[in-house]
Amino acid sequence: MTAVNDWLAVHWLDVLVPFSVLFASLVVLLWVRRRIAHWLDHWARRTRWPGDDILYHAARWPSLLWIALISIYLGLETSTLPGSWHMPATRSLWTVFMFSLAYSFVGVSSGLLRLYGDRLHIPAHVTRGVSVAVSVLVLFVAVLTAMDLWGAPIGPLLLAMGLMAIAVGVALRDILPGLLEALHINTTGYIKAGDYIKLETGEQGYVLDVGWTNTRVKALDESIVMVPNVKLARTTVVNYGRPLKKAIKPFRFSSRTHLKELTGLKAKDLYELADMLKKVPEAVVYYHTHHFLEEHHYLSPEPPNDFAVWVTDVLGDEVLGERLAAVDTFEFPTLGTLRERLGGIVEEHLAQPCEHRHATEGREFYFIKSVSFITPTPYVAYDLRELTEALRKLPVGSLYFHVFESRLRLGRSRNDFSAWIGDELGEQQLAEQMAHLDPYQYTLEELRSQLIRLIEKRIK
């Protein structure tokens, strides 16, 4: 005891300095750690990426060990220990640091693998296997480094490890690119489950999930398209984002075609025209106010009705012809009211004193009836986006049916698109806009563009 006291009396400074450095470093580094931990915790809470939590927790406890190691190392460096003690002590510190670092890395990699394994729907046993492989690899590297530190030979081990890496690479050559692309897609967050995407090559639909080699996309016809992740990463993809409100009752598109039925009835002058207009079925009024639109929809955006054309061209009565042509079909909710208006104009004209001409033989007005055949189409829409996509592809007969025929001939107050958007999707503003769009002002192709434009404006 006396010998120790004597030694301390002589070398008290050799002891005091390293221990002071050690404790001072401990205090300072613990304070710094606390500040950093506080800042990291705050940052991790603000971001939505769960990976930062994994990083934070993996470094939280090992960091105490690293502070201790740094403090001891600084103490050692300021001590007067002989070289034969100093060198093993330093190597021991580095070895402990190496293994603690490996422990943290294993924690991070396992956490991230679990996270992305779940997202990519990788089976749990595969995630576990990869996690164990990564842990073994990290441990292996740590052991190699430690051996190198203590001067042991590591050449043969490195060679074995290289061969193993090549073998693993060959085994995973098909899966790896897809997996990497999947990781890339998930990391960037450009494409997520639920997004509506459209590929340059034409495939489109809702993303069901991003798998580790393929992404599953549900097309509008309910079919599932498996898009390889490699392709997804190398082609142009338009992402329309999250789906809009889905209707419980979908819009089922119908199409319409028609046959002309001859009535055998004809009018040779205005008296007969006015008389027949009262008697003929509404299907006749419908035909003569709409057939020009159907047969010449590529020519004129505002088609005249047959009565106006006949009165002008055959009877040569341009004044009455103009009045009949000016009847705005869009204003009338039913064919009955339209018929009354047309007949009323002719009767008003007849009441005025003027010459009334007859049509020459063969140029009389022949009353024709439109017989409609309504057929279902495969197109179905549950939301506005699906409605738009279907509108792009529909035959004009379908467009015609839902806009013209359903409103006037079938006695619905609005066109079918407006009714569905208002009633099923609750999009009242858009429904109103579509209801007020006068379809008689457009060719059918222009009308298609107008409807799509209105919906797209709402979606965007």
């Binding site: 046959l259 055998g264 004809k266 055949f373």
Partner: protein, 377 residues
């Protein structure tokens, strides 16, 4: 099964349409059959008289003619094998087959390709006895309809854009056809493609052409063939040749049957296509010319106004002077000619191609089962 019956396999619009539609109906899964009634020359002379009478000409059918018609019709009843769910009978020649309706059942449709807007009433009344027994009648133009106890439908004929008569042709081939028929290309060509038939008014067109020639130098091509059920065409051809004799700018071309490519080439080589008919069932040659984006001048008769919307898809005329005036307007105004031609082609594309015709055939068959104005399928 749908059984079509008419009177000839070749020549004329009916045979042409059936030769295209029957295979297409088969492709759609319908069993479609096409039969032809046979007859002597005397029978076809009578039916030609009937045809003319339905077009309004007073050809004076004698009681003997009616007897011959009925005797031949009786023989058809015995000889022709009829089987099917729908019997689609074309024109007057086989109209009497409907007398087997009770025995065979099924739905019977009479398809009238003739302009019956102003018929000889004696002949029409004779045919009415048969027409009224059908379940439905089909006409090519609204003015052919009259109050009948059966449902009547308007179905316009059609052209097949892929057929030899309508498909695109290389200019070399068009030139070779003109060389073959010795038609120089030094002047604008005014063309009428039609059977040699009084009702196509080739003589009236020659008169109109001579009026045009007073102010615009051009050539007239009258090209056509004959049909086995039309014994009158040789006589008409002879008369037309006589009227045209001595005028090197008028080319009368007798084109043999199965010369669809040559007809196509002549239409494509034309500057203006004319159809100066006095009566017309539908006038498929008009649709053919419109499909080739040619400006058309045509008489406002039969089904032609369905195809030529005046000043939109062509010009409609009502006489020799009007036809001449319209031809001159087009020859003097290439921009008008192009606009009419372009609109005409689109009009045919939308309304007179065989696909539309096929669809209306199917709708007609459905109409036999549904009586409503709006049918949900």
């Amino acid at each position: 099964m749908v059984q079509n019956v008419n009177s000839t396999y070749t020549g004329g619009g009916v045979a042409e349409i059936l030769s295209r539609l029957v295979p297409l109906l088969g492709e759609l899964g319908l069993e479609a059959k096409w039969s032809v009634v046979q007859g002597t020359e005397a029978f076809f002379t009578v039916t030609k008289k009937m045809h003319n009478a339905l077009h309004g000409r007073q050809d004076g059918l004698t009681p003997g003619d009616y007897s011959l018609f009925m005797e031949t019709s009786d023989r058809h009843l015995e000889e022709l094998e009829l089987r099917g769910d729908i019997f689609y009978i074309h024109d007057p020649q086989p109209i009497g087959l409907v007398r087997r309706k009770k025995e065979l059942g099924g739905n019977w449709v009479w398809r009238c390709h003739v302009d019956v807007s102003n018929p000889d009433m004696a002949v029409w009344d004779f045919l009415r006895g048969f027409v009224d027994q059908y379940d439905a009648a089909v006409f090519s133009a609204p003015q052919f309809s009259r109050e009948l106890p059966v449902r009547q439908f308007l179905i316009a004929p059609s052209i097949d854009p892929l057929s030899d008569k309508n498909r695109d042709l290389p200019q070399d081939f068009i030139d070779s056809v003109l060389r073959k028929y010795r038609v120089p290309q030094d002047k604008p060509l005014v063309t009428q493609i039609s059977r040699f038939d009084y009702l196509k008014d080739p003589v009236g067109l020659i008169e109109a052409f001579r009026l045009v020639k007073r102010s615009i130098d051009c050539r007239l091509v009258l090209a056509g063939g004959t049909a086995t059920d039309d014994p009158e065409s040789d006589k008409v051809l002879a008369e037309v040749q006589e009227r045209a004799s001595g005028d090197p700018d008028i080319h009368i071309l007798l084109v043999p049957p199965q010369s669809d490519l040559e007809i196509n080439a002549l239409q494509r080589a034309s500057t203006v296509v004319v159809q100066k008919s006095l009566k017309e069932g539908f006038g498929l040659t008009v649709a053919e010319a419109l499909w080739k984006a040619k400006p058309v001048v045509a008489s406002a008769v039969g089904g032609i106004p369905l195809q030529v919307k005046h000043r939109w898809t062509g010009l409609l005329s009502h006489g020799v002077e009007g036809t001449a005036y319209d031809i001159k307007r087009i020859l003097a105004n290439p921009e008008l000619a192009k606009s009419l031609g372009d609109n005409g082609r689109e009009h045919v594309r939308q309304n007179f191609l065989i696909t539309r015709h096929l669809r209306e055939y199917l709708l007609l068959f459905l109409s036999l089962a549904y009586k409503e104005d709006v049918v949900y399928l």
